[in-house]
C-alpha cells in the first residue's frame, strides 16, 4: 500500500469551478481563430492534392487553370519554400508541399492563395496532377508482404524466455487480431492565421497543442531565426492529440503565403480535407502467444505489436513505445517479450491520439484476460484479479517497479458498488432465456503511466505578474483545448496569493512569453504547468513576505495570504496595498517559474529506468446487449471509479472521465476508418465516420472519483493527471461485447475485432455458431 499522504488545507484548489471560458462559451463569445476579426486584406489558403494515386513520382503537375482562376493571388509549390520543406516533429520526413513524389493519397502538392476561401477551394480542384503509380502498401499486411522498410527500427522489451515456457506449457493461448485507428474529429478543424510583421517577423495564430513546435517549423521553413516567429493559441475547439504535430503543416502554409504575398493569410481546412490530410490514431495488428496456469494466471507472454504508421515517422516512436509500456495494463507477466514493428504504409502518417498508443497496447492485455476466462469458463473478473500486480509480482516488462498500486482497492470497490456478482447472475439468466438478444458484462482495470517517455519533455515554464491593484496576470506553456487546464492552473495561482480566482487574468499561450515549451500532451498539462505557475507565484510571494517582514517588523512566519488580504502579525492589509507599497520600495512583482519532473529516468537503448513519475488508476464495469441477428449493440449501463489523486477541480475531472470514456467507446464500437485498395480514405466525413452522439451514451452512467488520500508522488497538491487514462475505461465495453458473444458457445473465445461495429459483431457471432 502506498504511504499516507499529508493533506494540505486549501481555499481554491479542489473547488468545482467552471471552465475558465464557461460564460463566453454559452454566449458564443469565446473567440476561436476562425472567429477573430480578419486583418484587412487577409487572404485564404486551400491545399491541393492529386485525385488519384497513393505512391509514385509526379509526372504531370499542370497548375495553369488554378493560377488563372479569378481571385487567385498565388499558387505555391515546394520550390517556393525559402527554407526547409519539412513539418515533421523530429525526423525531417514530412514535406510541407510534396517534392517530386507523393507517398499517400491526399498528400498536399500545392497551395492556392486567394482573396476568398471559396475561390481558393474552387481553384484547387482545377489542377491536373498525374502520378506514375507504384505498388502501394495500404494495410499492415501489405507492408509485411511487400517488405517495405519500417519508418523506425523495431523495439523490444524482454524478460526471461517466454518462447521456451510457452512451448513447454500445456495451457496456452494465441491469436492475431486488429485494433482500429481513430479520427480525432475535433469540432474545430485545423486552422492558422499568419500575420507578417515588420523586419521579417511572423505572428502565427494556430490552433495547436504545441506552439513551440509551430514556431520552430515556421522559422526553419521561412529561413529565419526562431526569435522572429511568435506562435499564439488562446484556445482550441478540441485537440485530442490531433493538433500536436498535425497543426504544423497548416501554420507553415499560412506563414509561407503571408511571406510571399506580404498579406495576412488564413489556412482553415475544409472538414473532408482535414480528415484526408491529417494523421490519426495508429491501428495495429496484434499477434500473441501466452501460457497460463490452471487458475488462469499468466506465466509467459510473447506478443508482437504491428503498427500502421503511415508514410513517415511523425510521433510513431513515442506512440508505439507507449503501446509497449501499456501492453501489461495492470497485470504482471512473469516471462515476457513485447515486440513492436513500426510499419511504413502509403497512408497518412499516424500520430498522437489521447492515450498515445496506450489504449492499443492495453487491448492485448484485456484480450488475453478474456481469452483465458472464456476458454476455462471462469469469470473474467476473477482471472483479471488473479493477474494484477501485487507485492513480489510488481516489475513491469520494462523493469520499473510498481510502488503505488491501488488497483486492488479500486476494483474491489467498483465490484461492490456496481453489484457485479448479482448482475453476472442476472446476465446468465437473461442469456439462458433469450435466443436472439444476448447480454454481456465486463469489469476492466486501467493503470496508466504518467510522464513523457521522452524525458526532456517533462518540463514547463510559467510567467506571473502581480499588478499594484492586486490583480494577477497568468501565462504558462500549456494550451487549453477544453480539458480545463487554464482554470486548474489559475486555481493554483489564486491559492498561492490567497485571492479569488476571478482576480487572476488567464492569458493566451504564446511563445513570446514562455519559450521552449513541451506540447500539452501525455496528460501532463496541469502536473507540469501547475507546478511552474505555483513556483512563479511563490517567488513573488516570497519577495512580498520578505518586504512585509522588514516593514512591519514581524517574523516571516507571521505573514500569510488569505481571502484577498495579507495578514501581517496582528494587522492585515489588502494584497493591493501590499503590492503598491512593495512597488514603491522597488520590489519586482513579476516572476517566471520553472518545473522539471524529478526522479524519472529512462535509457531507451538499455531498456532500463523509471519512465513514469506515477501511475493513474481506474476501473469500469459495462453491461451491453447485442442482437445476434443484426449485430446491433447497446450499452445498457456503465459504472466507473477513477483515481485522480486529490482533485484540483472535481467538476473538470468528472468531465474528463466521462468524456474520455465516451471517446474510447466510440473508438471501440462505431468509429471505423476505411481505406480503399487505392489508399483513399472512404470515411472522410461525419456522414460515414460515426462518433458517439447523445443517444449513444449509456442511459445508466454512474461515474465516481475514487476517494484518494492523494497522489503518493509529490505532484501539484497531490493531484493526478486525468486527460488520457479515462479513455481506456472504455475497454470494458469491448470486453462486455466479447462476453455477450461468448455466451453463444461456452468454452470458446469470440474472434471479435475492434471496432466492434455491427458488422464485426456479426462476423464474430457467425464464427461462434454451433
Amino acid at each position: 500500500m502506498p504511504a499516507k499522504v499529508k493533506r494540505i488545507a486549501t481555499d481554491t484548489v479542489g473547488l468545482a469551478l467552471a471552465h475558465d471560458s464557461a460564460e463566453l462559451h454559452v454566449q458564443g463569445k469565446a473567440v476561436y481563430i476562425d472567429d477573430m476579426r480578419e486583418p484587412e486584406g487577409t487572404l485564404h489558403v486551400a491545399p491541393g492534392y492529386a485525385a488519384l494515386g497513393a505512391k509514385g513520382r509526379i509526372t504531370v503537375c499542370d497548375l495553369s487553370a488554378v493560377r488563372a482562376f479569378p481571385g487567385v493571388v498565388a499558387v505555391l509549390t515546394a520550390g517556393d519554400i525559402p527554407g526547409i520543406n519539412d513539418c515533421s516533429p523530429a525526423m525531417g520526413d514530412d514535406p510541407i508541399l510534396a517534392d517530386g513524389e507523393i507517398l499517400f493519397h491526399g498528400q498536399v502538392v500545392f497551395a492556392v492563395i486567394a482573396e476568398t476561401r471559396d475561390a481558393a477551394r474552387r481553384a484547387a480542384r482545377l489542377a491536373k496532377i498525374e502520378i506514375a503509380g507504384e505498388l502501394a502498401a495500404i494495410t499492415v499486411e501489405d507492408a509485411l508482404e511487400q517488405g517495405t522498410e519500417d519508418v523506425l527500427p523495431p523495439y523490444e522489451f524482454r524478460r526471461g524466455d517466454p518462447g521456451k515456457l510457452i512451448a513447454a506449457s500445456k495451457s496456452t493461448i494465441s491469436d492475431s487480431f486488429h485494433v482500429g485507428g481513430q479520427e480525432h474529429f475535433y469540432l474545430e478543424g485545423q486552422v492558422a492565421l499568419a500575420v507578417p510583421e515588420e523586419a521579417g517577423g511572423m505572428l502565427v495564430y494556430s490552433s495547436t497543442q504545441h506552439p513551440t513546435e509551430m514556431q520552430h517549423c515556421v522559422a526553419k521553413m521561412l529561413k529565419v531565426a526562431d526569435a522572429f516567429v511568435t506562435c499564439e493559441c488562446r484556445r482550441m475547439g478540441g485537440g485530442f492529440g490531433g493538433k500536436e504535430s498535425q497543426a504544423a503543416q497548416w501554420a507553415a502554409l499560412a506563414a509561407l503565403g503571408a511571406r510571399i504575398t506580404g498579406r495576412p493569410v488564413k489556412c482553415r481546412l475544409d472538414r473532408d480535407d482535414d480528415m484526408i490530410m491529417t494523421g490519426k490514431r495508429h491501428d495495429l495488428r496484434i499477434d500473441y502467444r501466452a501460457a497460463h496456469d490452471r487458475t488462469g494466471r499468466l506465466t509467459a507472454v510473447d506478443a508482437a505489436l504491428l503498427a500502421r504508421c503511415g508514410y513517415s515517422a511523425d510521433l510513431s516512436l513515442g506512440v508505439n513505445d507507449r503501446a509497449m509500456f501499456h501492453a501489461d495494463n495492470a497485470y504482471y507477466y512473469p516471462a515476457v517479450r513485447i515486440k513492436s514493428r513500426r510499419l511504413r504504409t502509403n497512408t497518412v502518417s499516424n500520430t498522437a491520439f489521447r492515450g498515445f498508443g496506450g489504449p492499443q497496447g492495453m487491448m492485448l492485455a484485456e484480450r488475453m484476460m478474456d481469452q483465458i476466462a472464456h476458454r476455462l469458463e471462469l469469470d473474467p473478473l476473477d482471472v483479471r484479479k488473479r493477474n494484477f500486480y501485487a507485492p513480489g509480482r510488481d516489475r513491469t516488462p520494462y523493469g520499473m517497479k510498481v510502488v503505488d498500486n491501488i488497483i486492488h482497492d479500486v476494483v474491489a470497490e467498483l465490484e461492490k458498488t456496481s453489484d457485479y456478482r448479482a448482475r453476472r447472475e442476472a446476465v446468465r439468466a437473461f442469456n439462458a432465456k433469450n435466443q436472439v438478444l444476448k447480454k454481456g458484462l465486463a469489469l476492466t482495470p486501467v493503470k496508466f503511466g504518467i510522464s513523457f517517455t521522452l524525458i526532456h519533455l517533462n518540463q514547463a515554464g510559467a510567467l506571473v505578474h502581480l499588478y499594484t491593484d492586486g490583480s494577477v496576470h497568468l501565462n504558462h506553456g500549456g494550451t487549453e483545448m477544453g480539458q480545463g487546464l487554464y482554470i486548474k492552473v489559475a486555481q493554483v495561482v489564486a491559492e498561492e496569493f490567497g485571492i479569488d480566482p476571478e482576480r487572476v487574468k488567464i492569458t493566451a499561450t504564446t511563445t513570446g512569453k514562455v519559450p521552449n515549451t513541451s506540447p500539452t500532451a501525455a496528460s501532463s498539462g496541469s502536473d507540469l504547468n501547475g507546478m511552474a505557475a505555483q513556483e512563479a507565484a511563490a517567488r513573488i510571494k516570497a519577495r512580498l513576505v520578505d518586504f512585509a517582514a522588514r516593514e512591519w517588523k514581524v517574523k516571516p512566519a507571521q505573514i500569510r495570504f488569505a481571502k484577498g488580504r495579507v495578514i501581517i502579525g496582528n494587522q492585515s492589509v489588502t494584497l493591493a496595498e501590499l503590492a503598491r507599497r512593495a512597488h514603491q520600495a522597488r520590489i519586482q512583482l513579476s516572476s517566471t517559474g520553472f518545473y522539471a519532473t524529478p526522479g524519472i529516468t529512462w535509457d531507451r537503448d538499455k531498456v532500463k529506468g523509471k519512465p513514469f513519475f506515477y501511475f493513474a488508476y481506474g476501473a469500469s464495469c459495462s453491461e451491453v446487449t447485442i442482437d445476434t441477428l443484426t449485430g446491433e449493440m447497446r450499452v445498457d449501463r456503465v459504472d466507473i471509479l477513477h483515481d485522480v489523486g486529490r482533485s484540483l477541480n472535481p467538476a473538470i475531472d468528472l468531465g474528463q472521465i466521462e468524456g474520455g470514456f465516451v471517446q474510447g467507446m466510440g473508438w471501440l464500437t462505431t468509429e471505423e476508418l476505411v481505406f480503399d485498395t487505392q489508399g483513399r480514405l472512404s470515411t472522410h466525413a461525419p456522414s460515414t465516420y460515426k462518433i458517439p452522439c447523445a443517444s449513444d451514451v449509456p442511459e445508466d452512467f454512474r461515474v465516481k472519483l475514487f476517494a484518494s488520500a492523494g497522489n503518493p508522488a509529490s505532484t501539484i497538491y497531490r493531484s493526478k493527471a486525468v486527460g488520457e487514462p479515462p479513455l481506456m475505461l472504455a475497454l470494458s465495453v469491448f470486453s462486455a461485447i466479447t462476453d455477450a458473444i461468448a455466451s453463444l458457445k461456452p468454452g470458446c473465445m469470440p474472434p471479435l475485432e475492434a471496432p466492434a461495429t455491427p458488422e464485426a459483431i456479426m462476423k464474430a457471432v457467425k464464427a461462434m455458431s454451433p
Binding site: A22, Q27, D34, L187
Partner: protein, 158 residues
C-alpha cells in the same frame, strides 16, 4: 461566378442588408458578412450541428441553408439569446451550471438546438432529450451534462 444579390436579413431582431453571391450559405453570411461568429462551422455539411440557428423559431443547420432562402424570415443566433446586458437565457444558465461543455466549440449549436428542442416539446424525458439532441455532436463527450442541462432548463421554462 453569379451576379451578387442584395438581400435583407432579419437577424436577432435587427434588419441587416448585405450584398452576397447567391450561393452564400446562411452560416457564411452570419460569420463572414455580419460578424456573428457564435455559430460555428464544424463540418460544413449538415452533420455536426455546430451551426444550428433558428429560422422563425425552428432549428435549422445554417451551413445547409442559403442566406437568400431565409430573406424576410426571423433568424435567431446564439448572440440573439442574450441581448447585451440581459441575463442569460435559462438554457445558457443551465449549460453553465451543469458544465455542459469542454472545448466549447459545439456549445452555441447545442444551446440553439436545446432551446428549440424544449419549445418543440421534445424534452419530456431523458430518453427523448438524448434522441432529439442527437444531431448535435460533442467530441469532448459532455453528453451527460448536456442532457442534465436541457432537463433543468425544460423545468425552468415550463
Amino acid at each position: 461566378m453569379s451576379k451578387p444579390l442584395k438581400i435583407k436579413l432579419h437577424v436577432n431582431g435587427v434588419a441587416r442588408e448585405l450584398v452576397i453571391e447567391p450561393r452564400v450559405t446562411l452560416l457564411d453570411a452570419l460569420r463572414e458578412h455580419l460578424n456573428l461568429t457564435g455559430s460555428k462551422k464544424g463540418c460544413d455539411q449538415g452533420q455536426c450541428g455546430a451551426c444550428t440557428v433558428h429560422v422563425d423559431g425552428e432549428r435549422v443547420l445554417a451551413c445547409l441553408t442559403l442566406a437568400a432562402q431565409v430573406e424576410g424570415r426571423e433568424i435567431t443566433t446564439v448572440e440573439g439569446l442574450t441581448p447585451d446586458g440581459a441575463e442569460l437565457h435559462p438554457v445558457q444558465a443551465a449549460f453553465l451550471k451543469h458544465d455542459a461543455f469542454q472545448c466549447g466549440y459545439c456549445t452555441p449549436g447545442q444551446i440553439m438546438s436545446a432551446v428549440a428542442c424544449i419549445r418543440e416539446g421534445h424534452a419530456s424525458s431523458d430518453a427523448e432529450i438524448r434522441e432529439y439532441m442527437s444531431g448535435n455532436l460533442c467530441r469532448c463527450g459532455a453528453y451527460p451534462h448536456i442532457v442534465a442541462a436541457v432537463r433543468e432548463a425544460r423545468e425552468a421554462l415550463s
